[in-house]
Structure formats: C-alpha cells, structure tokens
C-alpha cells in the first residue's frame, strides 16, 4: 500500500493510492452521493453519473466512483459546476422514472429519492418521451417493475458475480435498454431461484418482494383462526426497521407486536426447526447405517431447492426429503394443533414471517400440500412485517418484551435458533446425531468447526464414537456449485452437506431489512462488511441463553412424537413432514 497526497476542498489528506475518489472522500469524511457504485466495487460501472466531482488533471467532471486518486490531485465536491451537474444527472433519471413514490414500497429506503433530496433535483425538469416499461408479477417471490429501474446494474452484479446465477442482465440498447432475465421474461419463466438477493441491493422499487399482506388482511376479515410463526433470522434483523443498531435481537418486542396485530397464536418456527432436526437427523443416520444416497444435503432453503431442481436434476436423491421447518410446523398446526383445539383445518390460516422471498414460492409447491391444503397460507418477509407494524400504529420501540405462545408447541432449543445462519442447521443436526450415535450429549455442546457468517465453503471431519462423519457447508450458489460438481463427478468425500441459498444463510435472506450505508448514518462505515456477522451473533447469543440446547431434548417435541407422530420418519411423519422434488426446465416454453 502506498500513500498519495490529495486535497479535498483545499484541505490536504494522505490516502491509499488504490482508492477511487469516492472511497478516498469517504475516508476523509465526505459522502459523495452515488447510486450505481455499491459495496466496494461489487457494482461499479460509472453509469449513473450522480457522483460527479471536479478533480485536477481530469478533463471536465469525473465520475468519482471509478476515477482513481493520484499524487497531488485536488478534488472539489461543492463547486457550483459539480453541484449543478449532480443535480442534472438525477433530474435526467427522474425524467424517466415512475414517480408514484407514495405507493412505492421502497419509500423510506429509496436511494434515488435520497440523492434527489441531497442534490436538490426537481421532478419534471426534463420532459419528453419515456421508455416503454414492463411489470412482471408472475413469480410468487419477486416483482420486477422496469418503470422504477435506473439501470445501475447492482442486481446484475449481485446475481452473477456474488451469487453465480447470472439470471439478470442488460438487454437491448440505448433508450430500449432494460434489466431482466433473457428475452425480458418473467422470473417465473427463467431459472431464477427467487432468492431475492437482487431485491436487497436494488436502490429503487424496481425489484421488490411480492407482498402477501393483503392475504393476511383477508383471512382476518373472514374470521379465520390466523396463526403466525416467525423464523429465527427475523428476530436478528427486524429491529433495524425501527432504528435499532444492526445485530440487536428483538424477540420479545416482535412477539408483543405480533400479538397486537391480532394473531390468535404467536409461534416460533424454532419448534419446527427442532422437528426438522429430529426428522433430518434420523434420515441421515438411516442413510449412514443402511447405505443410502450420500452425501445427504439439507433441504431447508427454498432458493437452494429451486437451484437444484433447475440445474442438478440428477442429484435430487441427495436432498433430504424433509420439508423446511415452517412447512413442517404449518402441517403440524393444521393437524395436531387443530385436532387438539377441535378446529377444522380449513378454518386455520397459517402466516409465516420469513427472512426470505423464495418461501413465498415454496409454500405454493404442490408437493408440499397435505389433503389439498397448503401447510402455510401466506408468507410475509421481515420487511413486510415491519410495514404491518407501522400500519397498525404500534410504537415498536416502546413495546414490552413478551414471549412466544408455548401451549402445546412452541418450546424450542438453542439448536433451532441457529438455523438462521450458515452452518447452523449442520451444527444443530450434529448435536442430535452425536447423541444418537454415542448415547450421550457432546460435552462441549457446540461444534465450532462449522460456525460462520459468510459465503464460501467450510468443512469438518468428526470422529463420533468411531464413526467418521465428513461434513461441508456452503451458502450462496457460487459456493454450492463447487460441492455439487464434485458430487456429480463422484469425487465428494462428504456424508452430510448444508446448503443455503443466500450468502451467509437466512440472516442475509432476500426478505431482510435493507442495508444502505448512505441511509444509516449511525452505523459504522463498514456496515456492509459486518452486518452478517452482527446478525449471526444475535442468534448465537440466543442459543447460549437457552437451557435446552439440543432438539431431541425439547420436551414438547418429545410429547409431539409420543402423542401424535409416533417416532421420527414414521408413516405419519412422512405424510406430514416430508416432500418430493422434480427436475425443472430453466427457460420453459412460453406462449407469447
């Protein structure tokens, strides 16, 4: 690293020579507005022209996000020329933008609106022809509305470079350019896995989750028994929507809010996670001892399931047949719970609060249905829950801390909480598999070898009472692909693999609150590097606080098997808690 001397607004600084003007300015305490530049150059195409500044040695104004600093450079941000140019850039964008901000669900998190305010851009400064626009609402998880797209390319970079999918791209040219799947298809007609990572990075309302709040409203209006269940990762991030620092667990306030929203029962999906471990752990033991298909791969992440069905149809027998935790719990609510409370399952409406948009697709899978009923009737994201809380006038920060309902289900172990972070399902499963193989609990309780919070592959080899179990963990499809190609080539040495669709696992799911450094002045400068770790810590700390740390020791799980299911992988368990998969064509035949 070598240093160069620069001046910003006449004040001298020494900065790393590898930085762009935008990055150097940030280090020196200046936030130059920008849209297309994101996450240390994950996306950096210099296309939005919002970050224009004056710099000596350059001809005219320069896009500070792509222009490197150099020795002796003098940078001016707030000259009349630069200020005017930045405002014009934003005004040009606004002239081709659908300005129905009051009904846009990105409002409050919209970076275009933010830079418009900062630069003083006016709507209607330029009038003229507008681009033809497209609205794709066919996919259960995602909506693409090109009338809001500013062609910054962040979603393309996230989908392709960070995630290895490459569903989104620029197509056509000039005024006709749009961002979308090839042929401007719907997400539903492309091999998109609906993980929603693109939604997380979109600066405007061009990419959004497909909201299901209206379904919840309807169920209340119809007088159904509306029961809510929330996933572990939600509690680690919901607080961000109400001004809490990233990584603050808000379990107590969330349950209080859910109760005030009118839900008849407020359950933790962690109970379903414990149930998943009982089923999946048993399945793994069977496969290990009876020569089943190995490695077995987890099936909790619907984004990953979509990816497998599109790209690795030949490897589907490796997937655990277990439904994901919220689907299992939904099935139990509509059977065991309904039976215990003498309610017709048809009158029960199960709402899942998820960090995920692919769950909206998963809940509608035919293979998951039991007796013609969905296990789960609506999936809302962490962000949608925040919207419902605000709509209801609930002052979240002043809520008391309440607990989950734990009448006949809802008790949970620490093992279940960590499902929300990459490596968590693996660790939870190992705690139970260790017990089943040795007859005693793992002394240390935790398996720190598999812990993590980021994308990439981790592996461990465990000797459990003479049985060697090789495990691997991957999150994000780019990492998963490496493990899958090895299996396909017959080179895989693993017995058990955990795969999560989103890099870092559910804490970084496509339904989680947006991380927007420019809109989070109270967070540290490097929040984009640390938010996953902070959210993961919130979950690991809840695991440590739990008295029961293993799924098989959850008393209500034991009772559920005694009273209702029999034993793990029983006939009844298979009917309710297991599912099947089928290979799918990525670009299916579309009638146009």
């Amino acid at each position: 690293m070598s240093l160069v001397n620069i001046k910003i607004e006449g004040v001298p600084y020494q900065v790393d020579s590898s930085l762009t003007i935008l990055e150097a300015a940030k280090k020196c305490g200046y936030e130059i507005p920008s849209l297309c530049s994101f996450n240390h150059g994950e996306c950096n195409v210099g296309s939005c022209r919002v970050c224009l500044v004056e710099a000596t040695g350059a001809r005219g104004l320069v896009a500070s996000c792509v222009y490197p600093v150099s020795e002796g450079m003098e940078i001016r941000i707030s000259t009349p020329k630069a200020t005017e140019a930045r405002r014009r850039s934003v005004e040009l964008m606004l002239s081709n933008h659908n300005m129905n901000c009051q009904q846009c669900e990105k409002n409050g998190h919209c970076e275009l609106l933010h830079v418009a305010q900062i630069t003083g851009a006016r709507e209607g400064a330029f009038a003229g022809v507008r681009s033809e626009t497209y609205l794709d609402e066919l996919a259960p998880g995602l909506i693409r509305d090109t009338s809001k797209c500013i062609l910054c390319g962040r979603c393309i970079a996230r989908c392709s470079n960070a995630h290895g999918l490459g569903i989104l791209g620029f197509e056509n040219r000039g005024f006709k350019t749009v961002v979308g799947p090839a042929e401007n298809r719907s997400f539903a007609d492309s091999p998109c896995i609906q993980c929603g990572q693109c939604v997380n990075v979109c600066p405007t309302g061009a990419l959004m989750e497909h909201s299901e709040i209206y379904k919840v409203d309807k169920a209340f209006a119809e007088g159904k028994h509306v029961i809510v269940q929330a996933a572990p990762a939600v509690r680690a991030a919901l607080g961000e929507e109400f001004g809490y620092p990233v990584g603050t667990p808000v379990t107590g306030k969330m349950t209080a809010a859910l109760r005030r929203l009118g839900f008849e029962r407020v359950y933790d999906v962690n109970f379903g996670a414990d149930l998943t471990i009982m089923e999946e752990g048993t399945e793994l033991l069977h496969r290990l001892t009876e020569g089943g298909v190995l490695p077995m791969i987890t099936s909790c992440s619907p984004g990953w399931i979509n990816y497998a069905e599109y790209n690795y149809g030949d490897l589907l027998p490796h997937l655990s047949s277990c439904k994901s935790p919220h689907q299992m719990q939904g099935a139990i609510i509509k059977s065991y719970w309904a039976q215990q409370h003498n309610v017709d399952p048809k009158d029960v409406f199960v709402v899942s609060v998820m960090p995920c948009v692919a769950k909206k697709f998963e809940r509608q899978r035919e293979q998951e249905m039991v007796d013609g009923l969905y296990d789960v009737d609506a999936v809302i994201t962490t962000r949608e829950l925040a919207r419902m809380i605000r709509r209801a006038g609930i002052i979240f920060n002043r809520l008391p801390d309440e607990d989950w309902d734990q009448d006949i289900m809802g008790d949970y172990s620490g093992a279940a909480v960590i499902f929300g972070v990459t490596g968590g399902v693996m660790e939870a499963a190992l705690r139970t598999v260790y017990y089943k193989l040795t007859g005693k609990e793992h002394d240390k309780i935790t398996f720190d070898e598999v812990k993590g919070h980021d994308a990439g592959i981790r592996e461990a080899s465990l000797d459990i009472n003479g049985t060697v179990v090789n495990v691997a963990i991957a999150s994000g499809m780019k990492s998963a692909k490496i493990l899958l190609d090895d299996i396909r080539a017959g080179k895989s040495k693993y017995h058990f693999i955990e795969i999560m669709g989103c890099p870092g696992g559910c804490i970084n799911g496509g339904g989680q609150p947006y991380i927007r450094p420019s809109l989070m002045p109270n967070e540290a400068d490097d929040i984009l590097d640390t938010y996953k770790e902070k959210r993961a810590k919130a979950l690991y700390s809840e695991d440590e606080r739990q008295v029961v740390r293993q799924s098989h020791n959850n008393p209500q799980i034991i009772e559920l098997y005694e009273k209702f299911l029999g034993e793990p992988n029983s006939h009844k368990a298979h009917e309710l808690l297991h599912t099947t998969y089928a290979a799918r064509e990525g670009f299916n035949e579309v009638k146009r």
Partner: protein, 163 residues
C-alpha cells in the same frame, strides 16, 4: 425449449471450442454462429452458456446490443436501406417506407416466405450515390420511390423461376 438437432448441437459446441484460449471469446463465438445459421435463438444461447460458463443473460445482452446479431432467422435477401445523413436528406425515409409497404413488413422484420428482411442501416459510406439501398451486397444507387416495386418484383420473379 425446443431441442436442437444433434448435428446443430455438435456444430455449436465445436464453434465454442475454437476460442478456448481467448480471454473474451463471446463475440467471436456469436459471430461464427450468426454466420453459420443466420440467427442466434435462446436455445443456442443456452448451449453456449453451458459450454463457456458465461450466463445466458450476458449472452442475450450482447446479442440484443449489436444489430449484427439476430434472434430470428433473416431472409434470403437482406434489404438494407441507408438512413445516414446524406441519404436521409435525399429522401431515404420515403424509400424505406415504400419497401415496408411493398414487402408488408416493418424494418427489422422478415417476410413470411423467408425471402426478404428489411433493415434500416446507418451510413454505409455511399453518400455520393445517395439515397443508397443495398440488397445482399448489391448496391442500388440514387434510389427513388417508384423503382422499389420493380426491384422487389425482380427478386420475386427470380425466386419463382428457380422454384
């Protein structure tokens, strides 16, 4: 997706493999395919994607960015009307409109019988003979609206005789 024939699949894979040493082989692969088949439909892009590891979205982006590439089959005769500045001031818009009327297609489209594709070209460097039209390499100088029908009829007659 409609499936490609075994021979087409083999040919496209062979084209992909010609450029394995190139850092950015996509343009060369697509040019060869365009020359070989006259168009690059999505099925072919999927195959190129699987072979090269370049995403379908990126390939589609390149195909739709450059007007040299086509997603649909081109006609046997490509009627290129120059709409460059010199041709334009000499009335090229009326010429292309007339071709559009006679052929019954819009610029960029191909006639149902597969004979003609109508293209609007930017300057083809023949300003001295404006307005110029180029039909599959044959240049028609100093075009006028009343010549259009006769030219099209000539090609149709030639095809009729050959058939």
């Amino acid at each position: 997706m409609a499936k490609l024939s075994a021979s087409a699949t083999a040919k496209i894979l062979e084209i992909c493999d010609r450029y394995t040493d190139e850092k950015t082989p996509l343009m060369m692969i697509l040019s060869d395919i365009q020359n070989e088949y006259g168009y690059i439909p999505l099925e072919v892009q999927e195959l190129v994607s699987a072979r090269t590891g370049i995403s379908v979205a990126e390939i589609y982006g390149v195909v739709t960015f450059y007007s040299f590439f086509s997603l649909t089959p081109k006609g046997k005769y490509i009627v290129g009307c120059c709409l460059g500045t010199a041709c334009y001031v000499k009335g090229a818009q009326q010429i292309i409109d007339k071709f559009s009327e006679v052929l019954g297609i819009q610029p960029g489209e191909t006639t149902a019988d597969g004979l003609f594709t109508l293209d609007a070209l930017r300057c083809i460097g023949a300003c001295g003979i404006a307005p110029a039209v180029s039909i599959s390499g044959q240049v028609y100088p100093k075009m006028s609206v009343d010549k259009v029908k006769a030219i099209v009829d000539d090609y149709r007659a030639k095809e009729g005789a050959a058939a």
